[in-house]
Amino acid sequence: MSDLPDEAQLTAASLNFASCHLCLKLVHVDQHFCTRCGSTMHLRKTRSIERTLALLFTACVVYIPANILPIMITDQLGQPIESTIIGGVVLLINMDSIAIAAVIFFASVMIPVSKLAMMFYLCWSVHMGPPATVRQRTVLYRITEFIGKWSMIDVFVVAILVALINLSNLLVIRPGAAAVAFAGVVIISMLAAESFDPRLMWDQRENNNE
């Protein structure tokens, strides 16, 4: 670990350098495009918190149909049975597949909900959060960023079952509208995580120190 105290170290912004989000090149803040890869340069992500919050609210709205509508329709001997995400978890518990029910519950209920909650907390904490926890909050942000795409498991399970189980008349599985909504929630919350800029939390702490 570093032997220098944090205060002795310099941020790129304090030296008038902006870091390219794509190739990590340090470019002077006057430049509009990265001199190495040509990406548009920003000292911090543009309107980061507003964009993140807008996407988070959208994700919350889309999450409602994702839970109400059926995600999968099973046609057994011509009898259609519609199942929702929660319904599928309950069914698995009734069938004593506790482990797999836990995986599905985790991937399609716990992760999306806690991810949205964590992102709301991070947005709030940029200006209001305790400065002492900034490192923990950065770790929290990296966790939300990492787990984002793992919520797609449920959509892929539907896609696989639809492709695999197609025994004409006897047993057919069809996709339900909630699959599209759920894929939407995952993509929108991934975009929300991408538009959040964790450096704002550190900037805030430095401003408080001065």
Binding site: S19, R135, V155, L164
Partner: protein, 213 residues
Amino acid sequence: MHITSRNKVHQPSVCLACPSCDLMFNVAELKDGETASCSRCGHFLTKYRADQFERVLAFASSALILLILACSYPFMSFKASGLESMMTLPQTASNLWNYGMPFLSFLVGAFIIFVPALIICLILLLVVALVSGRSYHWLRPVARLIYTLQTWSMAEVFFIGVLVSLVKIGHMATVVMGVSFWAYAAFSLFFTLTVSGLDRAQCWNRIEALSQQ
């Protein structure tokens, strides 16, 4: 190993700013196999390997061959009451289209086949150029596309989805795994190795060095 240095901070060519907290680090003195992470927030910065591009070339070629195998053989088959149904990997996407869900079909196809395939082909192109030590005008756009697309490849997520579906339907009927299943399992492993092996800072430093020769 953590590297921090205040002295050389004014030479931006050998410096990186932590993407999470913007602290500047000099990463010029990394030795083979050493990793630099941010001393303030712990974020991974870069890893230097002398043979990094050769390794990526090997991983990416294996991944491409495995993906071609995975797309051309049966993935799984399902037997119940004397009836059998079989699926291939592209059918995961195309069947959704047949059920009137073009948007979802497009997303699934992109996340599990097209984006990973495109990334692998672009990485092969880039790494062959970097290993041979020649600079081409298309290196920058190719590398930009690779790093932009990376978030949107979900090969490993799909594979966990396959395992979950296996457990879900395992008790209902006999499920037989085909060549494609094993090929895709290996593909998702090699794909992850390829993408994590191509270090962002080292790759761009190499592109920049080649263009300045």
